[in-house]
């Protein structure tokens, strides 16, 4: 029995199927790392599976703190695990290409199911792993649950989860932690009950309030944010986010607060959570308008593939058009339309100063544009930024990742899409951790914790679970902006009809 967490790790690990249930911030990740720490290694690893790269990063961070040898464990998302398994045994051309990663993962998962039935692969799994630990089990859709069950025929499976954090469920058919198909796990169920995140941060009262909110949401009741002393409530108006025209005296309070936390006066980490998961535009707009606000991107974001694919397949003016689109996508580059037409041609200018600029553009671009080598593309990008003074990058992740991929492709002499794949694999391996000031969604920030969290449009979260995930990311300071203090999102499980067989393609969109 662990004195600090109250968990009997021996019991957890000895059982063929076991589970730990805990609210956010109660030390699930900690418990996983405890398992690794006391594991007696004899050649076999513990396989840790989760859903997001953020989840991987936070587990990895704790593992590193405790100096656990890497040979003890392997950590991956269920999607990547299925994909890696498939790529080891199935020719790649039997899988869809990278243009739609969701489709690829879905197909890989189907293959993984078959592969785990093959006798030789079962021997390999048995030789490689002693235990499988699956984090955030509430996010498993039914097909993933079947896959884990398949692994469970060979290896001991231990799961951790929290039904209140199930936020993938509007997409597919999530597994119900309290459902009958998990009865084997429920027999060996333990609970974590101390809100360590807030105790460790010195804000136990905040943790207590978030637990209270959780209780209400779990019961399907409304929450009045006014009731909580530790949480800052900001009332907002629809028009608050269109503040550009307003004078500084009229600047909405929420914008002032955002600007304060983004400025140098605040030097901690900041996470801004936006309720709209399927649309990037609201977040992109904010990131472009608010100085210093970075955007969290999914590593499988279609923008990577689309951009590199258009670089790879165009030449001449079409290539310039692709570069123009890329700069518009990632930078504060409103002016670019005045200089480069959507077909990639440089506009003719009358004004003498402008003629000089457009000539400068033409001089560099024209000799290079007919060969779409990564080197030429980079040169053109740098030159356009230089001449047109495009200094601010709004979507840093996308911009710098694409820049890195271009350099990588040049150095290794490989195609852009291959370089993209390598980069993606690298991120998958090392996970992703967030330090700085970012805007994201619940899906992108799951499993992360941050000193200060600002939740925008809190009344717009689609489900109680989304709202709970958003509210529970903070460790010290929680600011909730909403058009109303009464928040009453529906609980997902009660009112969403489920089709157990289909996996919807959008499932992995934000991973």
């Amino acid at each position: 029995m662990d004195a600090q967490t109250g968990i009997d790790l021996d019991k957890f690990l000895t059982a063929n199927n076991s589970m730990i249930v805990a609210p956010a911030g109660h030390g699930k990740t900690h418990t996983i790392v405890d398992c690794l720490e006391q594991y007696r290694y004899e050649g076999k690893k513990i396989l840790i599976l989760t859903h997001t790269h953020a989840g991987i990063a936070s587990i990895r961070e704790k593992i590193t703190e405790r100096n656990i040898p890497t040979k003890y464990y392997e950590i991956n998302t269920i999607c990547s695990f299925s994909l890696n398994l498939t790529l080891s045994y199935v020719p790649e051309d039997k899988l869809p290409d990278d243009s739609d990663m969701n489709d690829k993962y879905r197909k890989a998962q189907e293959f993984a199911m078959t592969l785990l039935s093959s006798k030789p692969i079962r021997s390999v799994m048995k030789a490689k792993y002693d235990h499988v630990i699956v984090d955030e089990y509430q996010d498993c859709e039914f097909e993933q649950h079947r896959l884990i069950n398949k692994l469970g025929e060979i290896i001991k499976v231990h799961i951790l989860g929290d039904a209140m954090q199930g936020i993938f469920d509007f997409n597919g058919s999530p597994v119900d932690l309290n459902g009958v198909h998990l009865s084997a796990y429920q027999e060996n169920c333990q609970t974590l009950s101390t809100p360590w995140r807030w105790i460790n941060a010195g804000c136990p009262e905040l943790g207590q309030e978030i637990l209270e909110i959780r209780q209400l949401l779990d019961n399907g009741q409304a929450v009045n944010i006014h009731n909580y002393k530790q949480i800052v409530y900001i009332k907002t108006d629809k028009m608050d986010y269109f503040w550009a025209a307003k004078s500084s005296a009229e600047k909405p309070e929420i914008i002032k607060i955002l600007q304060y936390y983004l400025s140098d006066r605040y030097n901690g980490n900041l996470l801004v959570i936006h309720p709209e998961s399927h649309r990037k535009e609201p977040r992109t707009k904010l990131a472009k308008r608010l100085f210093n606000l970075g955007m969290l991107e999914s590593i499988d974001d279609k923008d990577y593939y689309d951009t590199l694919n258009s670089f790879d397949n165009s030449q001449g003016d079409a290539l310039i058009a692709s570069i123009r689109d890329f700069l518009k996508l990632t930078c504060i580059a409103g002016d670019i339309d005045d200089w480069i037409r959507s077909d990639g041609k440089i506009k003719n200018k009358k004004n003498e100063k402008d003629i000089l600029k457009s000539e400068s553009l033409n001089n560099i671009i024209n000799p290079l544009k007919n060969e779409n080598s990564p080197h030429n593309i980079l040169t053109i990008i740098y030159h356009i930024r230089d001449v047109l003074g495009i200094n601010r990058v709004a979507r840093k992740d996308i911009f710098y990742t694409i820049e890195r991929i271009l350099k990588d492709a040049q150095n290794r002499n490989i195609t852009l899409l291959d370089a993209l794949k390598l980069n993606r694999d690298k991120v998958r391996r090392i996970g992703r951790s967030i330090h700085g000031k970012y805007i994201g969604t619940t899906l992108l920030t799951k499993g992360l914790e941050c000193e200060t969290v600002i939740v925008l449009d809190a009344h717009k979260f689609p489900t109680a679970e989304h709202l709970y995930v958003a509210l529970s990311r903070c460790s010290r300071r929680l600011i909730v902006a909403s058009e109303t203090p009464i928040l009453h999102p529906p609980k997902s499980r009660t009112d969403i009809s489920k089709n157990k067989k289909t996996v919807q393609l959008s499932l992995f969109d934000e991973l």
Binding site: G43, K44, L87, S88, Y89, V90, P91, E92, D93, K94, F111, T114, L115, S117, S118, K119, P120, I121, S123, V124, K126, A127, K128
Partner: protein, 569 residues
């Protein structure tokens, strides 16, 4: 423990294409020289070698054509968990003799499927060998490192066993030390060794980090060596001054200050085998080229039967020694023939086992003359000596071997050798009805038959067709060999010849048709020439006056025999 399930070769030395599924346990490959036996062992050892690289030459390519890459694939089963972990990302399955490469194939889920990995060695015209583990077709192979190949525990006893007595990387001796030392600590202190090489052999013991492990190893080797029939005396490890350039290589086993590499060839090979057998629970794959090398026949037999009894060990050996193969059962034996795509297995029936016990030498031949009995064997030997040799030819060179059908088993042997694809010439009498009955059937399956006229036995044929001068020699020979005098002979034959011949000292020297008959019948029934030496003499007599018998049935028989012997395949 890992063992070889299947071997595939393309364009390696004399082999254009080769496939074979191996037995667990012992496999003995026989065949004429240059049929590719050693190439097969080399191929296996090259794929599974823990060495970093192997020097290849243009001559290693089939027909020296470097455009077609050398490909050697070894599929292994009996995989340890460590191997499964290291090579699992390209795992395959096998069932029966089938390799299942696609893990999405429903067969892979069925009972009886064994885990397998396929390691491929590929050499293209740049001569750089590349080792890979290959999974499904269309999945990119993964490079296999030298240290990973060490896991297969493949050990080759060939001409070059010196390295086996040193602690160089990947040598079984070094594996043995590591095994005993639990892989954790260094048995030898590398720094000290480096220093020692600058000084002398003296004080080597101080470089041994774990003396008890060291002594343990030496004890184990000595025990196994004596089981193999060789005394090791006082073996110890010391610095071999010849190998002063390489670090670990410098340590070699010595016997009374003499490096073991200076022992005789046979002892060296035995000792190197002993080292391999000392590895924990004798395991792994042992390849032995020409096991009889440097060993007395009884030792060959002893070792072969010992290896056959070791379970958990896969032994693949080649031999040219009939001593080796009489110790084995047919199921262990495989025949390698030039320009074929595999090995020929020998059906393990009682008939075949008998054929093998009686005629082990014939299994090494390209073609077999199956002789009815000892006389015929002697005659074939004689024909070789007196007819072929003067022409600058001999049976060995022609790849022809005679076998003794021992009368009653004759037809069995013909059937079994024919089954194995040996071209056969059956040399026999025509007086045994059961044999005669089968001749038409034998001819139909391509057996060439050289037999006597009508229903005659060979002796009858001889006395019918030889010139009288030769007959006199045969009688004279018989009298000498049997210590009979002419009087006894006369008395014995009296009832047949009494009317025609009066006794005198030279009564048998006068040519009479009736005497040809009588001598022929008696020689047959009394077995005057029924052993190999007699047959040999008979042949010398036939050859001496062969032209004088032309034309006769005997003349044609001899002609047919020699023609068949000289026939080039």
């Amino acid at each position: 423990m890992p063992r070889i399930f299947h071997l595939h070769i393309e364009n390696f030395r004399g082999i254009e294409k080769f496939d074979h599924c191996f037995n667990p346990g012992l496999t003995c490959i026989i065949g004429r020289g240059n049929s590719g036996k050693t190439t097969i062992l080399d191929a296996i050892s090259y794929v599974l070698t823990p060495m970093h690289t192997i020097p290849f030459h243009d001559g290693d390519f089939y027909n020296c054509n470097i455009e077609n890459p050398i490909i050697i694939e070894v599929t292994l089963v009996g995989l340890s968990e460590e191997i499964l972990r290291k090579f699992g990302d390209r795992i395959r399955g096998v069932r029966g003799e089938e390799i299942i490469s696609s893990m999405t194939n429903p067969t892979a889920q069925e009972e009886g499927v064994e885990d397998a990995v396929t390691i491929r060695l590929k050499v293209e015209k740049d001569l750089e060998p590349v080792w890979e583990v290959i999974g499904d077709e269309g999945v990119e192979p993964r490079i296999v490192r030298a240290s990973e190949r060490e896991l297969f525990n493949c050990f080759y006893i060939s001409e070059y066993t010196d390295r086996h007595f040193t602690l160089s990387k990947g040598s079984p001796l070094s594996s043995l030390f590591r095994q005993k030392a639990d892989k954790k600590s260094e048995v030898l202190n590398a720094e000290l060794i480096a220093q020692l090489s600058r000084d002398t052999k003296q004080g080597f013991e101080s470089a041994i980090g774990m003396p008890e492990v060291f002594n343990d190893v030496i004890k184990d080797i000595s025990k196994n060596a004596s089981e193999l029939g060789i005394s090791t005396g006082t073996v110890k490890a010391s610095i071999d001054q010849r190998e002063f350039l390489l670090k670990d290589n410098k340590i070699a086993l010595h016997q009374d200050d003499i490096p073991l590499r200076q022992l005789g060839k046979g002892s060296k090979r035995l000792l190197s085998l002993a080292i391999q057998l000392s590895l924990t629970d004798p395991s792994g794959i042992i390849l032995i080229d020409e096991i009889e090398q440097g060993l007395e026949p009884d030792r060959v037999q002893h070792i072969v039967s010992l290896l056959k009894k070791k379970t958990g060990l896969q032994v693949i050996l080649t031999t040219h020694s009939s001593n080796a193969i009489v110790e084995l059962s047919c199921s262990d034996l495989y025949i390698r023939r030039n320009q074929t795509n595999g090995l020929i297995n020998i059906p393990s029936t009682d008939e075949m086992q008998g054929t093998l016990r009686k005629n082990p030498e014939a299994f090494f031949a390209k073609r077999v003359i199956m002789c009815e009995g000892a006389t015929e064997v002697g005659i074939i030997r004689g024909l070789n000596e007196y007819l072929l040799r003067p022409k600058g030819m001999n049976l060995a060179k022609l790849g022809v071997r005679y076998a003794d059908g021992t009368g009653k088993n004759l037809t069995n042997y013909v059937t079994e050798f024919n089954r194995l694809g040996y071209p056969i010439c059956l040399f026999c009498d025509s007086d045994a009805p059961d044999v005669n009955d089968k001749k038409a059937g034998f001819r139909a399956i391509g057996v060439v038959i050289v037999d006597c006229e009508g229903k005659l036995a060979l002796e009858q044929q001889l006395f019918k067709d030889l010139p009288w001068i030769s007959i006199k020699k045969l009688i004279e020979y018989y009298l000498n060999e049997s210590h009979n005098n002419t009087k006894t002979l006369y008395n014995n034959l009296r009832s047949y010849i009494v009317k025609d011949i009066q006794y005198s000292e030279d009564w048998w020297k006068i040519e009479l048709p009736i005497l040809r008959n009588v001598f022929g019948n008696v020689a047959k029934s009394a077995g005057w020439y029924k052993n190999i030496t007699h047959g040999d003499y008979v042949a010398s007599v036939i050859v001496e006056n062969l032209e004088a018998t032309n034309p006769s049935f005997l003349y044609n028989m001899v002609n047919n025999l020699t023609e068949w012997m000289l026939k080039q395949e």
